[in-house]
Symmetry: C3
Subunit: 391 residues, 3 copies
């Protein structure tokens, strides 16, 4: 057997393995968000998760993949495996965005946006950051190091979310003057389950982004990437726990889990480049950023029921810059430029697309519908029809 | 290292990887069904899922595998891995069947049937369709193409279910004259979680059925199989969503998920044979078939709380025939013959076995027990004892 | 490509695959325990699961791995993969322990114990049993065969739990004179989901412990290990179901699942050494031991809400001895010695550490806090705030 054949087989297998882990993030996001919203909006959130995964993936199959990578060809592994791995990424950007506008967003316009995201917006971001760079080319001359998408995935989703929150507004009754109504999560086990499915998916996300496991160097890089990814998640969880405990003498599990996710987002730009200790620092800062950012966004009345801005946008930026800070061979300026270019592009294009869709099909549910719950109004199916409500 | 050794190692690893994905279908079916039934029957459904997986797998170990494949030998991978991969399939046929008789079936007779299914019925279907074909041999001369079991697994389970519904009857109070009592699902997050675990398991089911990943051709076939499998699932979900929305202006999540499952069942007969666009059509028809079949079975008073007949039986047939329609090299007549042979065999043998078991141990719970709930009567354990019931 | 390179790549990939499966045990334990406790303690149990995984894993990264294995070096696979595989084990010992003191234990002291466990106690057990054996060396001269830790993981966790129960005491109101208050599990679907995630994780645990899949012999050993592991789980579930049915005419799902787990623990010491039938016997005895041990521990007023003593301690011992009974080449005396050495070490050191921590930070929550629920007192977050309580 030729060495090239061996590599092709192993790297195809490895891409499929990684892709499967990432697909666990689909139920991961679904469970996380279903657990964080009120019972009257659970079915709606779940339906959104299913539908946007479906339409965005199909849009990427039909249009987006070609736009991002220029062709359906690949030499070092099966092109179908390469596609599947990339496709598994697509839904994430919209998941990030959809979660943050939960409890007042309608399904149809969101699905329309997901199609545009999967067919055009995300593929262009990939193209200028990772891809053939046919679109911006020498004009932008991007040199950002972003292994698995702190910026390309998480910030892109975060910027789209910010645009969406501005256009859609906050949930009815969330802010009254300076008062913020606390809306508790309805199902904590689902939040925990969802977070760990995401965490496991991250191993595929970041490990798989090395792109090959078929040489000793690559095998080491994959393993180190997964180890560092995990370390940052652990550290984010611990710091969030400590901060909550020192402030409130209580371990707020939703904040601890968002701290873990913050650490995971932050490490994603360069997990293969760090030694085994730096990810602790990156995760600690990432987790702390979540704890501090959540109340800031609330002060700004940017209503985000799942904390997605703090987790994905703030830490997407932090993680990308961190590579420029901690890794000597990486230019901080190039990292900053990458963050800025994607910010301008993702925010403005998302805003325009959301704005245009909103002209035809309103994203925001009426106050009455929000009051009654999105499930009854959008799905006709209650999440837990037999459980009597206490509140 | 010899090339043969390399292939043996890689294909064993790949079979184990695929098998693990399929085992995720065990909690997948369990969560899906637990979410779809009423809270008073949740523990019973879960217990059934655990017990039939256990007894059917053990029966396959002790008797079935040998009957299906003729010997405990294998040359291109570890025979233990080959067994595990096949064993992972067995429980599915009974899962399909047990879900459809939920909320009125008793555990002991179902476990007895599961033993017969795992030891004899399913192995014979495998033998005549995929296996050594020692049993029917030249008499039947089966030439059906059914990669991962649209017919062998899904229709077989579906026919057994049809036989079971005829023998066991509908749930108490489900049909009164021409009226159909709507019984809502009790826990939608579990339904979504279960569906995605099944979806992920399908990658192992179909991808693993290629049987090898250790050459460039096989690696391509595996990756393409997984891609096409996923595409059909996406398409089934989307069409079901669209149809529900145009009819009711509501996104019924349970129908959307059953649409996805319908697409997945339909693609299963030949995912490696299609180009990247055909699975869209197969999934669209598969998802639409579910939407139209569900009310038809209800009109026929075939009470199936989880929609298993529509998902597995209808789409098992559709998927098998589709290979004969869309792939030039495959004979439609042979596909039809395969569907018919398995139909006759699986339905009639299941019917006889169910009938005989039913003579000794009644499958159907008494009306009182159904009213009170199967959990209290069969398990002594309520699923959610602390949650107050609204209905 | 050199054969050594091939092995390095494949075995690294296989270790990562195994590690990912084991990490599914983190949500596995979390869901299992969250389902078994009362709703007022669910968030607390989940928070404990997250925090102890985080701190113990980080302690193992910073201190424990070096203590267990003597160096950060490895020649037959990536050291980072070797670390990840071992790290995935660490949290299990504390998971076993933390589950058994649920519903009255406080988070801070438990997290402190988890750090000591991950940094020192568990690494020493590994060192004397599996590792460089620098610590006890020729003095102990351990020759126990314990492939994946019936003793090293499960008994160690079990002994730590026994020490913890003695120090912390039983839940308020659990025992009044000779009466035992039955406290039902609050969420059965979570119990089932958690058990199957553990079950799947076990394939990685035991299969991965072969340490290599890159030769025909090793590939066979891995596949056989996974098959035998599964068989023991199936058998444990079946015997527990049968015993419960003959005694109570009811299928108690929690006992059936604990029977499965008992079988899985018991097979863990030597799954690669048995033929394909012996695991049935090992699982049957393991499952039966759980059924008989649970009431015994209750008679001894050792309050263990999740049955961890019966599952992990009793079957950890049984499984380790079973290797000496059923495998000719293994010395029963050496197995017994291994069990005894780990028993003395793990129990006494855990007891001392728990005792010392308890002097500074009490493990046990006040009666009032137990009455009100750990969630409100420790986390400030209710698990299901919207569901009205029936009890």
């Amino acid at each position: 057997m030729l060495e090239a054949d061996f590599k092709y087989v192993i790297d195809t297998f490895f891409a499929l393995f990684s892709m499967v882990l990432i697909i666990f993030m689909v139920p991961g996001f679904a469970m996380l968000e279903a657990g964080l919203v009120r019972t009257k909006n659970v079915t709606s959130v779940l339906t959104i998760n299913v539908m946007i995964y479906a339409v965005a993936s199909l849009a990427f199959l039909l249009i987006g993949y070609n736009l991002a990578f220029g062709s359906w060809e690949n030499s070092n592994m099966s092109v179908w495996a390469a596609f599947l791995f990339q496709m598994a990424f697509v839904g994430k950007t919209i998941n990030i965005m959809s979660g943050g506008v939960s409890e007042r967003v309608k399904i149809v316009p969101l699905a329309l946006f997901a199609i545009v995201m999967g067919a055009i917006i995300y593929p262009i971001v990939v193209n200028i950051s990772w891809g053939a760079d046919m679109i911006a080319g020498t004009f932008l001359d991007m040199n950002m190091h972003d292994l698995a998408g702190s910026t390309v995935i998480h910030s892109t989703g975060g910027w789209a979310l910010l645009a969406a929150i501005i256009i859609i507004g906050s949930r009815k009754g969330r802010y009254a003057g300076d008062k913020i109504k606390v809306i508790p999560a309805s199902n904590i086990p689902l939040v925990v389950l969802g977070t760990f499915l995401l965490w496991i998916g991250w191993f595929g996300f970041n490990g798989g982004s090395i792109g090959s496991i078929s040489t000793i160097e690559n095998a080491d890089a994959v393993a180190k990437t997964i180890m560092n990814t995990n370390t940052a998640g652990l550290s984010g969880a611990i710091i969030a726990g400590i901060l909550m405990y020192f402030r409130y003498k209580l371990f707020d599990i939703t904040m601890i889990l968002n701290g873990a996710l913050g650490g995971l987002v932050a490490i994603t730009a360069g997990p293969e480049l760090y030694n085994m200790y730096t990810p602790i620092l990156i995760g600690v800062i990432g987790g702390a950023l979540v704890v501090f950012a959540v109340p800031v966004f609330d002060k700004l009345k940017l209503d985000d029921p799942v904390g997605a801005l703090s987790v994905h946008l703030v830490n997407g930026i932090w993680g990308t810059l961190a590579v420029g800070i901690f890794v000597e061979s990486i230019s901080f300026i190039e990292q900053l430029k990458g963050v800025a270019v994607v910010a301008v592009f993702a925010f403005s294009v998302s805003f325009i697309v959301l704005y245009v869709i909103n002209k035809f099909v309103k994203f925001r549910a009426e106050d009455d519908a929000q009051q009654e719950g999105m499930d009854v109004n959008e799905c006709g199916v209650e999440a837990y029809p037999e459980f009597k409500r206490a509140i």
